[in-house]
């Protein structure tokens, strides 16, 4: 019954494909039909880098149906390098090792399992990014495309504006 619903969002879930607003340049994820900044129609698909950092995190102990076998699991808001926040699980890491600001990168994993004979739903999760000194020099030198908001107590401006390209 729900196969079509999951199939419709495979590009987003497998490859982190969002959009770039042709009018104002804003990177948008998850994709939507109208740019939330300028109201222009947003149709230009863009694949995100999958790099980002942890904005906040928590742990789920009491899971919704279809997620019971994964508890406890870490959930997070991840600030993508291109600007948007994304809601996702963290994987390959213990809760005690997670910190706000921790660099993470996207991987594809099983998100939910519907019953014993049901579908496996795959999608993005984020794991700790490989240490900088293990990466190729040019990758390590590549700066984040947008400045991240500082955790200094008060936002002078809404985050959205700070993250605009």
């Amino acid at each position: 019954m729900e196969v079509a619903r999951y199939w419709r969002t495979t590009k987003q879930r497998y490859q982190l494909v969002g959009e770039k607003c042709p009018q104002c340049g804003r990177r948008i994820f998850p994709p939507r039909d109208v740019c939330p900044v300028c109201g222009h129609e947003a149709r230009t698909a863009v694949q995100f880098s999958g790099k980002g950092e942890v904005y906040s995190y928590s742990v789920v102990h009491v899971a919704p149906e279809g997620y019971e076998k994964f508890v406890p699991y870490i959930v997070a808001l991840v600030r993508l390098a291109e600007g948007p926040l994304v809601t996702a699980q963290l994987t390959d890491v213990d809760e005690s090792e997670v910190w706000i600001g921790m660099p993470v990168e996207m991987v594809t994993r099983v998100l939910r399992e519907d019953g014993e004979r049901g579908m496996l739903i795959y999608g993005y999760k984020f794991r700790p990014a490989l240490p900088v000194n293990n990466q190729a020099p040019q990758a390590a030198a590549q700066p984040m495309r947008t400045p991240l908001p500082k955790a200094n107590g008060v936002h002078p401006e809404p985050v959205l504006q700070a993250a605009m390209p």
Binding site: P30, S56, H61, V75, L77, V154, V159
Partner: protein, 384 residues
Amino acid sequence: MRDVSIIGIGQTPVGEHWDKSLRELAYQALLAAMQSAGVERVDALYVGNMLSGELTAQEHLGALIADFAGLRGIEAIKVEAACGSGAAALRVGYMAVASGLCDLVACIGVEKMTDQQGSTVTSALAMAADAEYEALQGLTFVSINALLMRRYMHEYGYRKEDFANFAINAHANAVNNPYAMFRSPITAAQFAEAKPIADPINLLDSSPIADGAACVILAPTSIAREFTDKPVRVRAIAIATDTLAVHDRRDPLYLEGGALSAQKAYAMAGVGPADIDVFELHDAFTIMSALSLEAAGFAPRGQGVRLAMDGEIGLNGRIPITTMGGLKARGHPVGATGMYQIVEVAQQLREEAGLNQVKNAQLGMAQNIGGSGATVVTTILERI
């Protein structure tokens, strides 16, 4: 537009009503409100409810409750806006009376949650969030609030225990509310030792799911005194929206929908936060209390928790909140909660709050929040 007043209020105790169905709870509250107003019939019935389909396999609540209450034939519909459904139903009733289309209107909030197992309720509540980009990731409603709370603590430098007074105040007030679910006080030590459910949120940060129904009867203010000597005038009611998903917000720590709906309500009533004597806010989690106080203009950004820490939220404080126990201790039957808030503000303005009476309360406000802030209903009521 006609001026609108509340002429009758009714509520059931909040709790686990094993012996009562959704329709019985709704009828009990409706009957109490109609008796309080001295009316035997209404022109229309608006039912605020979030989860009847998911949890009791019953939709079509308007006709169901109208029929069950002996009001067959009247206009009756369900209004849904997640946990904001209760006050949203009041908004629809308000429009019906203000417009002149209806004279006497009943607005009910009702929810029946305890028939189902925990994981079913957890999944159902998550439907208030974005199904494709929050719930599909395994997020629960409590974990979404936990994400907000942790970031809030990080940005503004608070500790977990700084939130304790929200829960302590709610429980202290529920002791004197016969309709409340948890009528026992809690201490700071109990808060500190409470079981974590989605760190940093613990059991005592969180409101309990419950069954319950609350109801008000609306009429034009011009005829309100024909029914009651204690009418409560609806000075303002405003709904505003924000993105469904937290990750789509410009700043997740700012309830833009809450600020917008409060500003609309203040403008409609011609008042400001300093004029409000009592504020029933949506303390589904302690972090929501802080964000609601900030959005409604009672505290600057990042300072909502300070009001609790400094003892400003008590019955004699600068801004008394959750005066009958709030969601935390009165209980949170989600689609009914908004109507409980309205009934409780009306109790304060009618001088019917018993030991919890806020002295000389003239103007009261309620803020009912759907989801993590995507729908916010702000209502301002006045004693006349």
